[in-house]
């Protein structure tokens, strides 16, 4: 089955083309059927591939010739490794459910077909990225993923915020992409290939066709450049600002972006290209630090946000920080494990939030929610499962993977990172249960009309929720003592032995669970029993801290004033220079010619004899000069 891996991305592509041909007048049912079936087929093939890889180990890449450049050949192809196989299954599983969910969520939208076109293209791009055997192909699909997120975030194009968010998402990630672009260009120049295998070999032998930098420094440089790409895509600090804004898109899109496709790409790339990073201690440190900063930073912002999707979005940023930090401390398996479990419970949280939003007619502010448990029990239960998984309460999925990461951080000897991880875990538990309590418990705070119309979503929406909830419950067991750490063995079967399973520290699970429970407890006290008044805290001594968190540490503002405005002003100044100096000189020459002509025209006095005289004098001078120069007639 591995040799048919190209089928996996092909199904969504075919769905995209079919929907494109069908056009806008297609029936919603038909459209959903095509998209969901294609995704389902891809999922089935992925599962078959997964089982085969588990049985036989990863296969060699399949390559075909794409373009000849002088004496080089650029190839395209596909490849299945353990990591790929797992990603294929996760992506297709989540996207199938999201596709199904969207049928009801997007019902009646006049661009329903277009929405499914974009979704299919999105999934195709992500799957293509996953099975790419070389970095150029990765970059191609990487950009396509970015394009699809642009299209989907800006799907409601008539909303100015959506348009701005889409643009921001594309441009901010593109800044990261350029880092990646430079990185793979340098790698190609140095190694003559884009293929992972060739690149890894060259990195191992430190044999580069580049003389302006030492091999060690070169590896560090390239690793950091590739990581910059991941920073952009996976919304790491300092390029995280696009992800929360991307909430302007329809909620199923958010689920897809956050769980399976867009943001996972960054972590996936670092994991896939890990041998490059492993060769540079400096690069790993940078990654770990960035990951740690992101984890705590986003968690702190998440504490005070009032938009239900925004909180979940910041939790994604924070969780991605965890994964990146894990890679930075060489806890390769832990990171990939968390990527997988996170995909399930984050998709669950988003879809559940979407269900809530759908029921409340696209109101997303948790301050005007409350008591929805009674109206929407299925959504409530599944959201609770997702929240518990995110907080890391055993035996939910998040507990196992987060535990691994904390263990990795602890084992690396970097206590600061470990502490940051714990604090972030506390914040995570607090904010997600803050949302839970404010949404599902207490009294409804919105208007009565909305309350009356609020109702549990139909089965098209709840079935994906339930399935995801089950995965959020059990997926953690894949890499636990229960299954004897099956995932770790599976991932390392391909010969990747980074971050070999660290020694277990007996107190670690208890500490992690306690910290999470403390967070939940605080949220319970503040938002359920109201024994601690959050308003008082916010307006009291903690006021400056609250503002800092509420305004997202003013990062957007800083960027606006420190980067956007200066660049725009440079543009304006250059435009001014271009108009008045560069072109001004041109026009000055023109005007000068005109003014000179105005003066010189008086030489044209109309007297033929004057003209003749001047001609003769000129001829005499020229002839004389010529005679003098050549010394006579020869």
């Amino acid at each position: 089955m591995v040799e048919y891996a190209w089928l996996v991305p092909l199904f969504p592509l075919v769905a995209y083309l079919l929907l494109f041909v069908l056009g806008r007048r297609a029936q919603e049912g038909v459209v959903t059927a095509i998209a969901v079936l294609a995704s389902l087929a891809a999922f089935v093939v992925s599962l078959m591939i997964l089982s085969e890889v588990q049985a036989n180990g990863p296969g060699a890449p399949y390559m075909f010739h794409w373009l000849t450049v002088g004496s080089y050949t650029l190839s395209m192809g596909y490849e299945v490794t353990a990591l790929n196989a797992m990603m294929l299954a996760v992506v297709t599983f989540v996207s199938t459910l999201v596709f199904l969910f969207s049928k009801s969520y997007m019902k009646g939208d006049e661009r329903f077909v277009v929405f499914y076109q974009y979704l299919s293209l999105f999934v195709f791009s992500m799957l293509g990225l996953v099975i790419s055997p070389n970095l150029l192909q990765v970059y191609i699909f990487w950009e396509l993923v970015g394009l699809c997120s642009f299209l989907l975030v800006g799907f409601w194009y008539y909303k100015p915020e959506a348009a701005a968010a889409a643009k921001k998402a594309f441009i901010v990630t593109r800044i990261g992409d350029v880092g990646l672009f430079i990185g793979i260009m340098l790698l190609f120049v140095a190694t003559g290939t884009f293929d992972y295998a060739g690149v890894f070999q060259a990195v191992e032998s430190k044999n580069f066709a580049i003389d302006w930098i030492s091999p060690e420094a070169f590896i560090t440089l390239v690793a950091i450049l590739i990581f910059i790409g991941a920073i952009g895509k996976s919304a790491q600090f300092p390029l995280h600002t696009w992800l929360p804004d991307a909430m302007e898109g329809p909620t199923p899109v958010s689920a897809l972006i956050h769980a399976a496709t867009m943001v996972a790409a960054g972590v996936y790339l670092v994991a896939r290209a890990f041998p490059i990073f492993a060769a540079s201690e400096t690069a790993l440190t940078v990654i770990a630090v960035i990951g740690g900063i992101t984890a705590i930073f986003a968690a702190l912002i998440g504490l005070t946000q009032n938009d239900i999707k925004r909180v979940v979005a910041y939790s994604t940023v924070s969780q991605l920080g965890y994964m990146v930090m894990a890679l930075g401390v060489s806890a390769y398996v832990a990171s990939v494990f968390h990527l997988m479990t996170h995909a399930f419970f984050k998709a669950l949280l988003f879809l559940a939030a979407g269900s809530v939003i759908h029921a409340l007619h696209h109101n997303q502010d948790i301050r005007s929610m409350g008591g929805l448990w009674k109206k929407m029990p299925v959504t409530g239960w599944t959201f609770l499962i997702g929240a518990l998984a995110l907080s890391g309460i055993p035996p939910f999925a998040g507990f196992w993977s987060k535990d691994e990461i904390l263990l990795g951080a602890y084992a690396s000897g970097n206590t600061l990172l470990f502490v940051i991880g714990l604090i972030a875990a506390f914040c995570t538990a607090f904010y997600i249960f803050r949302v839970f309590f404010m949404t599902f418990t207490g009294e409804f705070r919105g208007d009565k009309d909305t309350w009356d119309h609020a109702h549990e979503s139909g089965p098209v929406m709840t079935i994906p929720l339930v399935l995801l909830a089950i995965m959020a419950l059990v997926s953690g067991l894949f890499n636990s003592p229960v299954t004897d750490y099956a995932l770790a063995d599976f991932l390392q079967a391909g010969g990747l032995h980074y971050g070999a399973h660290p020694e277990h520290v007996s107190w670690m699970p208890y500490v992690a669970t306690l910290v999470a429970l403390a967070g939940i407890g605080l949220a319970y006290l503040m938002y359920k029993t109201k024994s601690i008044n959050p308003e008082r805290l916010a307006n009291g001594a903690l006021r400056p801290l609250y503002n800092l968190s509420y305004n997202k540490f003013y990062v957007d503002e800083i960027y606006h004033y420190a980067i956007v405005l200066p660049v725009v002003w440079i543009g304006r100044i250059l435009n001014f220079i271009d108009k008045w100096i560069v072109d001004g000189i041109v026009r000055l020459v023109g005007q000068g010619t005109y003014v000179g002509a105005l003066g010189l025209k008086y030489a044209q006095n109309g007297q033929v004899q004057t003209y003749g005289l001047i001609t003769v004098l000129g001829a005499v001078v020229l002839l004389g000069a010529a005679m003098y120069a050549i010394g006579g007639v020869r």
Binding site: Y602, N605, G606, Q607, Q609, G612
Partner: protein, 102 residues
């Protein structure tokens, strides 16, 4: 014995006289006449080389014939223009004919 230089010298002097006249005289008729003088000087040169040149040939004489024909045509048209001008502007002074100034 006659030499090439003698004829060339004569032609040059004649040409310069014509040139001076064409540049200074105010009556258009005299200017035209001066131009004929220059043409005649050129003709002398042509004939000189036809007779005494490195390769004596009758071509020089044919060329002179053409030159004279064209000169006659030119003079005829020139005088016709002069008449028309005189009729319109009542002057035959070159310096009054400055319609083409700026």
């Amino acid at each position: 014995m006659l030499s090439v230089e003698q004829f060339l010298t004569l032609a040059a002097i004649l040409f310069c006289i014509g040139l001076y006249g064409a540049l200074t005289k105010r009556n258009i008729i005299i200017v035209l006449v001066s131009i004929e003088l220059m043409l005649n000087a050129a003709n002398i040169n042509l004939l000189t080389f036809a007779r005494f040149g490195l390769v004596p040939a009758i071509n020089g004489q044919v060329f002179t014939l053409f030159a004279m024909t064209i000169a006659a045509a030119e003079l005829a048209v020139g005088l016709a223009i002069l008449i028309a001008l005189y009729r319109n502007r009542n002057t035959s002074d070159v310096r009054d004919q400055d319609l083409m100034k700026w």
